[in-house]
């Protein structure tokens, strides 16, 4: 073809933005802001802030902290439980129905309990994000451990490895491609639950999701679009970081 696939990665988003701008300039989108208005909105958030004085860096930093806290806690809990569930049929039989019953509940539904248990603040909003990240990481870890070639733990046993060693040195690295996939999916869902998470209320007044809700109240659709773009960019940056780590860790593949 006349362009390489790497070039398409640049061309396709630019084309989409141009189309969006054309539709908006032609007056076909009503109150929906144009991309240029969204970019101006980002500048407004950097310069003035919403509410005034509450600037973009504060919103982004607060959201990033909540997402990272919920995400880290979810990985720290889900990976060990997932490894044990993949390793032990009994534990899997006990926990799997529980997991499958809780998993379909939208994280937003837990909001009243999040506030009841943790009050308003970092913990309750991170808890909502935790719920979004937890299940994809858990399920991918379980299936990753189950799909490790059964000969590998056997080989390890004949080489003198204990069961604990096999868990840590055979099943975890064997499942690592699947675990990392779960972590990537989880990180994406973590950002997806951000707006819901910040509906728990934000004491500091900072947060991208919270900011979007404020913009909605003022009918500032341009700032809603700006918030969406910033969340998208942050999510993309985080995914890029995880992919770099993945590339390093999974060199052997």
């Amino acid at each position: 073809m006349w362009v390489s696939s790497t070039k398409w990665k640049v061309i396709s988003p630019i084309a989409a933005i141009l189309l969006w701008q054309l539709l908006a300039s032609a007056g076909l989108l009503g109150k929906t802001p144009s991309p240029w208005q969204a970019v101006e909105g980002i500048w407004f958030l950097i310069d003035t802030g919403l509410p005034p004085g509450y600037r973009l860096w504060g919103h982004a930093g607060a959201s990033l902290a909540r997402v990272l806290a919920g995400f880290a806690a979810a990985c720290l809990v889900a990976v060990p439980i997932g490894v044990l569930m993949g390793w032990s049929k009994h534990l899997d039989a006990v926990l799997d129905p529980l997991v499958e019953a809780v998993r379909p509940v939208p994280p937003l539904a837990w909001l009243p309990f999040a506030v009841l248990w943790f009050g308003i603040g970092l913990v309750s909003s991170s808890f909502i994000i935790f719920l979004g990240v937890f299940f994809p990481v858990l399920l991918n870890t379980v299936s990753g451990v189950k799909s490790v070639d059964p000969r590998l733990p056997e080989a390890a046993r004949t080489l003198g490895a204990s069961e604990a060693t096999i868990l840590g040195r055979v099943l975890v690295p064997g499942a690592s491609p699947s675990i990392i996939t779960g972590i990537r999916i989880g990180m994406g869902i973590g950002w997806m639950t951000l707006v819901a998470a910040e509906m728990t209320g934000v004491k500091s007044g900072y947060g991208l999701g919270y900011m979007i809700l404020t913009a909605r109240d003022y009918a500032r659709y341009d700032l809603v679009a700006s918030g969406i773009i910033v969340i998208g960019l942050l999510g993309f940056a985080m995914d890029t970081c995880i992919r770099l780590v993945e590339k390093r860790l999974l060199r052997w593949r």
């Binding site: 590998l152 046993r157 004949t158 080489l159």
Partner: protein
């Protein structure tokens, strides 16, 4: 097997039997029936038999990965209760750890048994040298050919200094050329180290090329029904009349087992 007077067997199987209950049908499936075997130290023994006869199960019981329904496995007189580094198992599909480099695959055993790192690495390098893999120590398994993978797997097993080397059709997934090369390599290794080897194969040609003794198993439930002594000098020549005659005798027995199977 002929054992010289006063020479204790290294490995002994006493009326070993194994049966499973088939999960789907609920039928009891007898795999091994009353297998008796004595393996003297330093010997090279090959087990051949019709495919699916239970050769692999026998080896897995010796390795301690499966338990016998009756009978026992003794290593130097003490009963085997589970897997351990005193019995090294080499798998048909290599079973290398894909996330570990060649060198780290070989040091896995010493690493998990808490041997000092420097010592383990020096020993592993020496093993890789004898395997002709010195220049490959930093590669990952996916970067190796089948024959190289199997040499790494053998080195990994030897690194824990097993008393007996159990090999389960280790060359079956190699192409013919690599397979012959590996057979020659294994004979050299055995002659040099004096290891005790129990080698399962479905290839009569391979068994005659390698073993001092070839044991023929019956169809399921497997028993040892034939013992062939191969006193041809090493390294063996496949076109030698003694070689072809012995191969013909063993093939004749195998054919008999297959005929019975269809009767």
């Amino acid at each position: 097997m002929e054992i010289k007077a006063g020479r204790e067997p290294l490995l002994e199987l006493r009326s070993l039997s194994k049966s499973f209950v088939e999960a789907r049908t609920g039928k009891v499936l007898e795999v091994l029936s009353d297998v008796d075997l004595r393996i003297a130290p330093g010997t090279f023994t090959c087990l051949v038999g019709p495919s699916g006869c239970g050769k692999t199960t026998l080896l897995r019981i010796i390795a301690g990965l499966e338990t016998a329904t009756a009978g026992e496995v003794l290593l130097e007189g003490s009963p085997v209760t589970g897997p351990g580094p005193d019995r090294g198992l080499v798998f048909q599909e290599y079973a290398l750890f894909p996330w570990r480099t060649v060198l780290k695959n070989v040091t896995f055993g010493p690493d998990v048994s808490g041997e000092t790192r420097a010592g383990a690495i020096a020993d592993a390098r020496e093993l890789l040298e004898t395997m002709g893999l010195s220049t490959h120590e930093d590669l990952y398994p996916r970067e190796l050919s089948g024959g190289m993978k199997q040499r790494v797997a053998i080195a990994r097993t030897l690194a824990v200094k097993p008393k007996v080397l159990l090999m389960d059709e280790p060359f079956a997934s190699l192409d013919a050329q690599a397979r012959n090369a590996m057979q020659e390599f294994l004979v050299e290794l055995w002659l040099r180290t004096g290891a005790t080897i129990v080698f399962v194969t479905h290839s009569v040609d391979e068994a005659v090329f390698l073993g001092q003794e070839v044991l023929g198993l019956s169809r399921r439930p497997a028993r040892i029904v034939q013992r062939f002594t191969c006193d041809l000098a090493y390294p063996r020549n496949r076109t030698d009349p003694g070689f072809t005659a012995l191969r013909a005798r063993i093939l004749e027995y195998l054919k008999q087992e297959l005929v019975d199977d269809h009767a």
